[in-house]
Amino acid sequence: MTTAAVPASAPKPLNRRLKGWPGWVLLLGVVVVALLIGSTRSTGPLTDADRLDGIAQRIACPECDGESVYESQSPAAANIRIQVASLIKQGTYSDDQIIAYVQTNFGTKTQLVPKATGFDAIVWALPVFAGVCAIGGLTVAFRRWKLAADTVPTEQDRTLVDDALREQDDGR
């Protein structure tokens, strides 16, 4: 079977044309607009129960083994939920104010997230440090590999490879 030669000036197939830069620019535009709309429009009013859930997930149950007030079924957690619900019902406090109130009244045992100050800041700083090290390490490694790849093989290297390939072919 013979294949007809395609003239160099022939138009590109539709699939190819779509995949050109205009198609990508259009795609990027749609993504940016969609993300802008999605991230700026209102989520609608939260119910008191939704707010209670959100706040309860940020408070540790003071008597439990690692559970938040949201997860725990213990009486202590139930008590805190009742108090938070009553503060939400008053409608005058923000979420952060309610959490601060709980921590004042129930102690630091209710703190579920380490502070970003003092010794506790380490738990926030180390992941960032690890990320920076990783990016730096990868950059150095790729640069080193690129330098190694740019090395031009000598005639001796080429002979060595040819011999090895010949040897392998003979072996088969």
Binding site: A34, G38, T47, D65, G66, E67, F119, P127, A134, R144
Partner: protein, 678 residues
């Protein structure tokens, strides 16, 4: 009393026999290797079978003791009860420390026997022999634990005629039968690739051969760990009553850590097989994965960390910590010793290559594992250094996991279409175009339905992008090979990717868009919430031999009645909520009963959660399992068995296609299962 004597004595006896078999197995194998005695080495299979027989017998004896309610044993006093139903009496064996270690042991000895059987014709091969030595040594450690600090057959106080039974959370759902053993199959399975890694280091055969020996074992263990984690999420959802699947609890984190490093390994191992690179990295990942299983067990079983899942608090901690230290020192020492042989002959030419993407993926998984480990152990560090207690809860992990998740989704989109060596911009533009539009659709459709939030929408978009890339690979593979295009490591891996994407999208949707409300209702009253109606039909009491409680009947949308309950286990006195869930393709309706209701009441307070896409978590998990199984089948062979894995790929008779990208070879576009040896 006679049965009691029999169970205790028999249990200790078989454990002792197992210890002796494992010790002699290890010593005989080392002696055989040193003297080159092939006959002796071939006989080590018997020791492995002896070890397996002893471990299985010990497990069986403990089950017998639980079934017989042999309350002369301290462990049965702790977890057994005359009232516990048969099925939960069987599962009671892994409901506390000593039995969990027995479960670990029985799976470990099983793997040891499988290795001895699988490699029975090569037992005189030093690589296999050393791997068996490592398995025997790990067995010795666990036999010592079961005879010492985690002795399940220890006699208890006399005169006890019943016990409390398992923790109420462990006798409340059938998943207790499946989740722990399956998780342990994955956890303990990581011992096998670790054993071969150590054997490769000892023998100096650090090439690619040992990887191929253990490829399926690593995949098998990873697959079970995946199933175990998913079942754990399902169990949490069905039992704990807070409607979540993952709480970043230390015990959950302990299972996630080896999964993260194991996932990194099953990607980076492809680079070593293909290019002979990342040898030290792969060894380190395998050692880390195994070491993390031990560290995780230490964290969750020693009592150093409090967790709702940590059903034990024994004196096992120093043993596990010591063993962890030995693993770390020996492994790192061996890697340093073999440093000269571990130098990679090649280089990664470009970050825009498949190996470059694998490396980036590995770095991400490793840093994420570090973050999870740091968050898990940070309270211990603070307590040790500053003598104060702090908590690191889910908000910390969730805030840090978002960027990792998004970058991983992006890598999952780009990596499958990348060729080895180097990709040009034109190639990427060509191959990523339609997958990227898949991402746009996945972004715009939820937006049209009212979805909000930058991170969630970006996750949907990247998920669609990644799903498009994985689907593209599968379509290409099935076009060429028919249904065979679905099997093999690369193609099965794409099925796993689709499963992961579905899980990720479902997790994002269910955590971002869950809504809830508390409905205070009277019997006969109908209330509306979230587009559904809820009618309280009745408030009932119930009593069983081990519990009593209150249950309400709620009609949803005028149809089927659902029955959330609160159960009080009389032996413990604690209230355990039992949610009732209406599953749906788009939303689950999750109902819990608030405390305070009494049988016969005419009012009740019901909490209703509307949780989007939850069912897709289990569907995605199922796809991950299916993909893992498909990956276990051999793909198409293209190499001679004697070819080194980094050998050139023979040319094929496929004519060039119009859409073959100029910057890649034909083989780059093919699923890599065709490229790597099997």
């Amino acid at each position: 009393m006679l049965a009691a004597t029999v169970n205790g004595t028999l249990g200790h006896s078989v454990l002792l026999i197992g210890l002796v078999c494992a010790t002699f197995g290890a010593l005989a194998t080392v002696y055989g290797i040193r003297t080159g005695d092939g006959r002796l080495l071939r006989s080590t299979q018997r020791y492995a079978f002896g070890v397996a027989g002893a471990g299985i017998a010990a497990f069986a004896v403990m089950e017998r003791a639980l079934i017989q309610r042999d309350f002369s044993l301290k462990y049965v006093q702790q977890v057994g009860s005359a009232d516990t139903p048969f099925i939960f009496n069987i599962t009671a064996i892994w409901s506390a420390l000593e039995g969990s270690i027995l479960l670990w042991l029985v799976i470990l000895v099983g793997y040891t026997a499988v290795i001895a059987r699988r490699f029975r014709k090569r037992l005189d091969d030093p690589l296999v022999a050393w791997a068996l030595v490592v398995m025997f040594v790990v067995c010795i450690f666990f036999f010592v634990l079961t005879l010492g600090p985690a002795d399940a057959f220890k006699a208890g106080p006399l005169g006890v005629t019943s016990g409390l039974g398992p923790n109420p959370l462990l006798q409340n759902h059938i998943l207790v039968l499946f989740h722990p053993p399956i998780l342990y199959l994955g956890y303990v399975g990581m011992t096998v690739p670790f054993a071969f890694a150590i054997a490769a280091l000892i023998t100096g055969r650090v090439g690619e051969r040992w990887l191929t020996e253990t490829r399926r074992f690593a995949l098998f263990a990873w697959g079970f760990l995946t199933i175990g984690i998913i079942l754990g999420g399902w169990w949490s959802y069905e039992v704990l009553g807070w409607s979540g699947v993952w709480g970043w609890d230390p015990v959950e984190n302990a299972s996630l850590l080896p999964w993260l490093t194991g996932t990194a390994y099953i990607h980076s191992v492809l680079v070593q097989e293909r290019r002979g690179m990342l040898r030290v990295w792969n060894l380190t990942l395998l050692v880390s994965t195994f070491a993390l299983t031990i560290l995780g067990t230490f964290l969750t079983r020693s009592g150093v960390i409090k967790s709702v899942h940590a059903f034990s608090n024994g004196s096992i901690g120093p043993y596990l910590l010591g063993f962890f230290g030995v693993i770390a020192v020996v492994s790192l020492g061996l890697i340093a010793w073999r440093g000269d042989r571990l130098r990679s002959p090649g280089a990664i030419d470009s970050p825009m290559s498949r190996e470059g993407a694998f490396l980036a993926n590995n770095v991400l998984f490793t840093i994420f594992a570090f973050v999870v480990l740091l968050g898990t152990v940070f309270p211990l560090i603070v307590e040790a250094l500053q003598n104060r207690t702090i908590k690191v809860g889910s908000p910390y992990f969730e805030s840090l996991s978002v960027p990792f998740g998004l970058i991983l989704l992006f890598l999952m989109a780009v990596a499958p279409v990348l060729p080895w060596r180097k990709a040009s911009a034109e190639l990427l533009r060509e191959r990523l175009f339609w997958p990227a539009w898949g991402g746009v659709i996945a972004l715009v459709v939820p937006l049209a339905f009212g979805a909000t939030g930058f991170a969630a929408l970006l996750a949907f978009g990247l998920g669609g992008f990644a799903a498009g890339a994985a689907s593209r690979q599968l379509i290409l593979a099935t076009r060429r090979q028919g249904l065979r295009g679905l099997i093999g490591r690369a193609n099965g891996g794409m099925v796993v990717h689709i499963g992961v994407i579905i899980v990720a999208v479902a997790l994002v949707a269910s955590t971002t868009y869950t809504h809830s409300s508390t409905l205070a209702m009277q019997v006969g009253q109908v209330k509306r919430y979230g587009g559904h109606t809820f009618e309280l039909v009745e408030v009932q009491g119930f009593t069983t031999a081990r519990s009593n409680g209150v249950r309400v009947q709620i009609k949803v949308d005028g149809g089927q009645a659902y029955a959330p309950a609160i159960t009080t286990f009389t032996n413990f006195g604690s209230n355990i909520p039992t949610p009732s869930v209406r599953n749906g393709v788009l939303n689950d309706i999750y109902l819990t009963l608030d405390p305070g209701s009494k049988p016969g009441d005419t009012t009740a307070s019901i909490k209703v959660f509307i949780k989007p896409l939850i069912i897709w978590l289990w569907i995605g998990g199922g796809l991950m399992v299916l993909g893992t199984a498909l990956s276990g089948f051999p793909g198409k062979r293209r190499r001679l068995p004697t070819d080194p894995t980094s050998a050139l790929i023979p040319s094929t008779d496929r004519p060039p296609r119009d859409d073959d990208a100029p910057a890649s070879t034909a083989s780059d576009e093919r699923p890599s299962e065709e490229i790597v040896s099997v």
